[in-house]
């Protein structure tokens, strides 16, 4: 059984017990435990079920490489699936539940897959479930989906919050083991601004576990000194619990800091996402131990040898009483020695190599530990827990030589550098024959904006596997020369042994796990190779090797090795799959940051925003603005409100907050010439004091924006744009001025937010302005399509006589900070004139009644002004304007284009939004031919009937013709083609 040892445990505080529960069972650990060590201390080795076969699984590793031990953590709005117990710090009240089983962890019905495993080899689903056709969707897929997946889906909205922060460093050190600390010391002493990140809650990494001696000190002492020295440097920042997640282009680094993961609901953000720019990144993430592939290497109780040491030294937890060590290298002997020193039993060390004469094996033998060379494990005994191992010759086919009882197995297949951060942005790897691993190729680093390397690795991340080599490499990486000395035992090289025994037959290979979580076995990789999925990417995808939540940290190299053997090619020829960020999974909430709910996106408010909010507004998002859609009085539907607003505006007076309308000042000696290029019409000839409607097209010729232009003075024009278009059009102007006509003397300024703008619309509009007083707004002084500066009700105002409704209408711009007061004044004096505010929908109905086009409704990016009968707004005199050449192309100049018309249903009903007019027959693809479509359709309260505009094939030539339009219920509506202006065709009402 796994137990807590009576003494030791460098990271735990035995005076600080922590109660927690696992599957409802009360358990106790200590401050400093991980959930993994606490579970093991409570003899909870079985922690989950595998993905495909639902096999019982225990803790294999002690760090982020753990593939099996994933649990659901927390409850309700703090529930999180797939939490890795090996990286979860224990806290009081922690609640964990195991995953992927039914009805319970111990008795899982899904394990039936395990018994059927031989029928479910890698990629089996591609070969079956093909017939009958409907069965995949309705039978097989639902079963597979329920069986797959790991943790339960959260249900509630996340109760935690997340934040993001930026940091900058000359040197960013990722990894706080001795390599990272040494690199930071060197960099820090040079005066560079240094930032050091460590994913765990402790500095020092593995060195103390491996009992390294550095400069005559114990590893713990050296680490303490190093951290103290670094903390004493003003130019160095240290961050624990911060995982370097990814290196992106041009040296952008993401890191995730766990702030309150171990202190839930303490009011702090749960996690913080760091976005870091560093001149140089030193990746010192260490190395990961590889499992060995032998039958039953997934039985709970089989662990990585180094991880066994982690638990013993750091947490005083022994994974078993009797531990068989199996290895292809010297390092694993440290585990055997440590266990025996801790008073535990190691019945045998099985070393697959022919000889084991290094210093560590000699020391083990001297302690009386039985060492068997040339031996391997034929199979592991036990189901939910190891009960013993069958020993075989490594060279043979697995004939059992003896069976040894044990309750845990410590395995070591050698160590692989963690190359993720090196590789994310294109750093290349080379195969190291001596150490049997891929390591970064220093000559082919990932490069940044200057083409130079942006990442160097330090320590075991470079492939240095002994403490002295680690310190030397780290010192070099940071540009130093003097590395501290470390006393290390002489180690014999690892043997490139992947599968145990060498001649294992199919029965055994089908029980050797490569990817524990995804249940990929040696036999699956060999099958993939046999079937021609020989590219490493094919093998990965066909078998799902390395695609689990550990992203192949344990399985990738072993898988490559098995594939290379199956293909009889060298491992470097097989190559690796691509390393993608993040290094370990990052919480989506942290990636999104604080921008949630109300602050999901910036909200642009007009000066009158609060007034609308206080007056029953129904909002409509328009870009980042919100505009009043309508103002719903108690008891009204939105539609009723809109109808009331239209009628009131047409009979009395309406007030519209038009502040979102784009306002761009164009000024300079060449401003007129510039605007003549920008607009289809002639703007240079517009007299000062007058307004003119203008259209802007893109170079393709398609209509992109419209608005009224006012000539302010000899050199100044003010261009109104659509609400959504202000920023786009301003950028468009600057594009042409800076990149094409840079010698033209023109300045532009987007003053949209400098002014509040109120449209006063309706027969009583003039009266309202007269009540405000201060300006002569009579027809004579301020006729239609002119503007004037003045004072209205004490406000500095620019008054435009323009109309988008067909009514007598003024648009009044006042300084933004006076906008609310001006609006209030209009509301106050308008009360006895029947003034009511109106929203965008009323605006739309009124403009449709007048046959005015709306950008985005009548246009969609494929419509040219000529389609909309707006030829009158296109100057015939100009040699050029933006879009003119585009409009001359065959398809745009064709007489057979769909053109704008009015549409009147025969029965007065409202045509449906987006309806099409079918034409006779089918096209070559069997689709119904069409001859037009509705672009705007409303119920007009003014006319008491449905009105619409639409684009119809040669529409203006077909006045009076009745055309049918589609309805969603499949029937058709008949509509007569009419003039697009439904209301006040003569324009008498707006020009009074």
């Amino acid at each position: 059984m796994s137990t807590r040892l009576s003494c030791g445990g460098r990271l735990i505080d035995r005076r600080a017990p922590r109660d927690f529960s696992f599957n409802g069972k009360k358990m106790r650990g200590f401050l400093g435990d991980t959930l993994a060590s606490a579970l093991l201390a409570n003899d909870q080795m079985l922690v989950g079920r595998s993905f495909k076969y639902h096999r019982p699984r225990g803790i294999v590793a002690a760090g982020p490489e753990e593939p099996n031990a994933l649990v659901g953590l927390g409850v309700g709005s703090r529930f999180e699936p797939n939490q890795r117990v090996t990286t979860t710090e224990l806290f009081q009240g922690l609640t964990a539940t195991s995953q992927n089983h039914w009805p319970s962890l111990e008795y899982d019905v899904g394990v039936v897959n395990n018994y059927a495993a031989r029928f479910l080899p890698g990629g089996f689903y591609y070969k079956t479930f093909i017939h009958p056709r409907f069965a995949w969707k309705h039978v097989f897929e639902p079963i597979i989906r329920r069986s797959a997946g790991l943790g339960k889906a959260p249900i509630d909205r996340d109760a935690d919050r997340y934040e993001q922060a930026y940091d900058f460093a000359d040197v960013l050190v990722i990894g706080g083991g001795v390599a990272g600390l040494q690199a930071a010391l060197v960099a820090g002493r040079s005066g560079a601004r240094v930032l050091v990140l460590e994913q765990t809650a402790h500095w020092g990494g593995r060195a103390p576990v491996d009992e390294a001696e550095i400069g005559g000190l114990t590893a713990d002492e050296w680490i303490r000194n190093a951290v103290e020295a670094l903390e004493g440097m003003q130019n160095v920042t240290l961050r624990l619990r911060t995982m370097g997640a990814g290196v992106y282009d041009h040296g952008y680094v993401l890191a995730e800091e766990r702030i309150a993961d171990h202190t839930p609901a303490d009011g702090r953000p749960r996690k913080r996402l760091w976005r870091i720019r560093a001149a140089k990144v030193i990746a010192a993430q260490g190395a990961i131990e590889r499992p060995l592939s032998f039958a039953g290497n997934d039985v709970p109780g089989v662990m990585l040898a180094g991880s066994v040491r982690d638990f013993v030294v750091n947490h005083a937890v022994a994974p078993g009483d009797r531990t068989v060590v199996v290895t292809n290298n010297d390092d694993a002997y440290r585990t055997a020695i440590l266990l025996v020193e801790a008073g535990l039993s190691v019945p045998v060390v099985l070393d697959a190599r022919a000889a084991a004469d290094g210093e560590l094996p000699r020391r083990a033998r001297a302690m009386g530990i039985r060492v068997e060379t040339g031996r391997g494990i034929a199979s592991v005994k036990g189901g939910k827990r190891v009960t013993g191992v069958a020993v075989c010759a490594q060279a043979g086919q697995g004939a059992v030589l003896e069976t040894i009882a044990c309750d845990s197995v410590a395995m070591s297949g050698g160590w692989s550098p963690i190359v993720h951060l090196w590789s994310h942005c294109g750093g290349k790897l080379i195969w190291d024959e001596v150490n049997a691993h891929f390591r970064p190729d220093p000559d082919r680093p990932p490069t940044g904006q200057d083409g130079q390397g942006i990442v160097v690795t330090a320590g075991s991340a470079s492939g240095a596997l002994t403490t002295d080599a680690v310190l030397r490499d780290a010192t070099n990486a940071a540009g130093g020369t003097d590395a501290p000395e470390a006393a290390v035992p002489q180690e014999a090289p690892v043997a490139a042994i992947w599968v145990m025994p060498q001649g294992a037959g199919p029965e055994l290979r089908a029980k050797m796990w490569l990817d524990y979580q995804n249940d990929v076995k040696v036999s699956d990789v060999q099958l993939a190779a046999r079937e021609g999925y020989t590219s490493v990417e094919h093998t990965k995808r066909y078998t799902t090797l390395g695609m689990a939540t550990d992203q192949g940290k344990l399985s990738n190299i072993n898988g490559l090795a098995v594939l290379s053997q199956a293909l009889s090619i060298d491992i470097p020829q097989v190559g690796t799959t691509t390393f993608r960020p993040p290094y370990t999974p990052v919480t989506l909430g942290a990636l999104a940051g604080e921008a949630r709910d109300d602050i999901f996106q910036p909200l642009r408010r007009t000066p009158m925003h609060e007034w609308h909010e206080a007056h029953d507004v129904e909002w409509e998002p328009v870009g980042l603005w919100r505009r009043p859609y309508c103002y719903r009085r108690p008891g009204e539907t939105s539609h009723q409100a809109v109808m009331r607003e239209v009628s009131n505006t047409r009979t009395n007076v309406g007030l519209l907050d038009a502040s979102t309308l784009g306002k761009i000042i164009v000024k300079g000696p060449d401003a007129g010439k510039f605007l003549d290029m920008l607009y289809t019409g002639m703007m240079s000839t517009l007299p000062v004091g007058k307004c003119r409607y203008g259209l802007m097209c893109n170079e393709q010729g398609f209509l992109s924006d419209d608005g009224v232009v006012a000539r302010i003075d000899e050199e100044t024009w003010l261009c109104h744009t659509t609400s959504g278009g202000a920023d786009r059009i301003h950028a468009w102007m600057e594009d042409w001025l800076q990149c094409e006509w840079w010698d033209w003397q023109v300045f532009t300024a987007n003053v949209t937010e400098q002014y509040a703008q109120v449209a006063v619309v309706g027969p009583n509009a003039r009266k309202l302005l007269e009540k405000l007083g201060g300006m002569d707004v009579s027809k004579e002084t301020l006729p239609f399509m002119q503007w004037q500066d003045g004072t209205l009700g004490g406000f500095r105002a620019r008054v435009y006589r323009i109309s988008f409704s067909g009514e007598l209408s003024y648009e009044i711009a006042v300084p933004a900070n006076e906008g609310r007061a001006f609006w209030d004044a209009c509301v106050a004096v308008g009360a006895e004139l029947g003034a009511m505010p109106y929203g965008t929908e009323c605006l739309h109905v009124m403009r449709a009644e007048k046959g005015f086009i709306m950008i985005g409704d009548e246009t969609d990016g494929t419509v040219i002004p000529q389609d909309l009968n707006l030829g009158w707004a296109i100057s015939k005199k100009k040699a050029d304007y933006l879009g003119k050449r585009g409009q001359e192309r065959a398809f745009l100049a064709s007489p057979d284009r769909w053109k704008l018309v009015g549409l009147e249903t025969l029965d007065g009903s409202v045509l449906e939004d987006g309806a099409y007019a079918p034409a006779e027959g089918l096209n070559a693809n069997g689709q119904r031919n069409t001859q037009g479509r509705v672009t705007s359709t409303y119920f007009s309260p003014t006319l008491g009937r449905g009105i619409a505009m639409g684009l119809v094939l040669r529409g203006p030539d077909r006045m009076g013709e009745v055309v049918e339009f589609t309805k969603l219920d499949g029937s058709l509506a008949k509509a007569k083609i009419v003039d697009q202006v439904f209301y006040d065709k003569e324009g008498a009402k707006q020009d009074v």
Partner: protein
């Protein structure tokens, strides 16, 4: 080709799966072929497959510089739909969808086509009108789609938040036949079927030059030597510009990075595909349980298969706003693909200045869903030398005439 079935699996299980034959052969190239297709992605392989199946042309080589299916076919978010606004798009995507519906049976390879339904959320009035227009258009095109209200959206997607404070959900365009498929399997299934017809799929073979004489292609130079051909099809997505340049013509195409990511797998919680264009995000759940999430396209030319992080950030903000429960899930893996964007964001299936050379590219962010239809139309073009009705509108001439097929008009629809 030995057929796949549950019986075959049972038979093989008894002998430890030692009897499975290679899914596709790995031959050395012959000196020449009737047709050479450059690019063994989904579109290239599908082209070859339908050349054989529909036209009996099997003396075909599909050459690939990397591994088959290793480009965008293996990097996309696997969404399949045909609810396109413009007639030519709806025609080819719906052809593709119909072929997907029977593809597993046709190829004897389970591509896991899962018609689980697809929703495109409307979150502004403008978007509502755009999607209504699409429904009307689809009805006339014979593509069954419908407009559904927010309650129905909530019923189909219980994890959705329809009352977001900024962009409440006003309804959705719903295509019940839409869904997903297993992307790798599509490439593998076509490759296996092509190989079974005797076609050569030649991987690790990069084209280094295109030889022509008198306006006709005579063959291609490759890293495995010269390969002659009577007809050439270029189906290389993001690298189309490179190969076209070798053939001596330019394309209205730019290559940009598009990103995607997956979460850790969880038990089934969403049975449909959801796209939210106002806030820029789309999401589905794979059969494995991962939430598959698509991000935005960079606005600059890029061949690195990596993209800019801020797109991921924006996408996740949008999706957490739409699906608050995903906040505590974790991003497992992010990656990028190179998408080939044309001037109107619609594809090219076209003749070229060289008489016997044909191009299929420009699928942008929408390529996977088109694969069978694209291959079908391209095979017809290659076989007959003239486009059939599916391909006719996608010719390269449209840019000169200004005859665009612009799908963004409905409501800024992403693929």
């Amino acid at each position: 080709m030995r057929r796949y079935s549950v019986f075959a699996i049972a038979r093989e299980a008894m002998r430890h799966h030692t009897g499975w034959e290679r899914a596709w052969a790995s031959p050395e190239p012959r000196a020449s072929y009737d047709v050479v297709i450059v690019g063994a992605g989904g579109h290239g392989l599908a082209t070859a497959y339908y050349l054989g199946k529909n036209f009996g042309i099997t003396n075909v080589a599909v050459i690939e510089k990397g591994w088959l299916g290793g480009g965008n076919t293996g990097r996309n978010t696997t969404i399949i739909r045909s609810n396109y606004l413009q007639d030519p798009s709806a025609a080819i995507y719906d052809k593709a969808l119909s072929l997907y519906e029977n593809l597993s049976q046709d190829l004897n390879y389970n591509v896991m086509f899962s018609p689980r339904g697809l929703l495109m959320l409307a979150q502004t009035h403008h978007e509502v009108r755009g999607y209504l227009r699409t429904v009307h258009a689809n009805n006339l095109q014979g593509v069954k789609t419908e407009w559904i209200g927010p309650e129905k959206v909530k019923e189909l997607v219980p994890i959705i938040n329809i009352h977001g404070p900024r962009y409440p959900i006003l309804g959705a365009l719903y295509q019940e036949r839409g869904g997903t498929a297993r992307h790798d399997a599509v490439a593998w299934g076509y490759a296996r079927a092509c190989s079974a017809m005797g076609m050569h799929i030649i991987q690790q073979c990069e084209v280094t030059g295109v030889r022509s004489e008198g306006g006709q292609v005579t063959g291609v130079d490759t890293t495995k030597g010269h390969i002659g051909c009577k007809k050439l099809g270029i189906v290389v997505a993001g690298h189309s510009g490179q190969v076209a340049a070798m053939a001596g013509f330019r394309l209205p195409v730019e290559s940009m990075a598009l990103q995607a990511l997956v979460s850790e797998p969880i038990k089934p919680c969403m049975d449909v595909v959801v796209m939210a264009n106002t806030v820029h995000g789309y999401m589905s759940q794979s059969d494995k349980g991962e939430m598959v999430i698509g991000g935005g396209t960079d606005g600059f030319n890029n061949y690195t298969q990596r993209g800019s992080f801020h797109h991921i950030e924006e996408t996740l903000r949008a999706l957490i706003e739409t699906f608050p429960m995903i906040s505590r899930l974790k991003m497992l893996r992010q990656w990028g693909g190179i998408v080939d964007m044309t001037g109107d964001r619609s594809p090219l299936i076209s003749k070229t200045p060289l008489g016997n050379c044909f191009i299929n590219c420009g699928w942008g962010t929408g390529g996977f869903k088109a694969i069978p239809g694209s291959g079908w139309a391209m095979a017809e073009l290659v076989a007959k030398g003239e486009p059939g009705p599916l391909a006719a509108e996608f010719s390269i001439d449209r840019f000169k005439e200004g005859r665009f097929i612009d799908e963004s008009v409905a409501a800024g629809v992403a693929h």
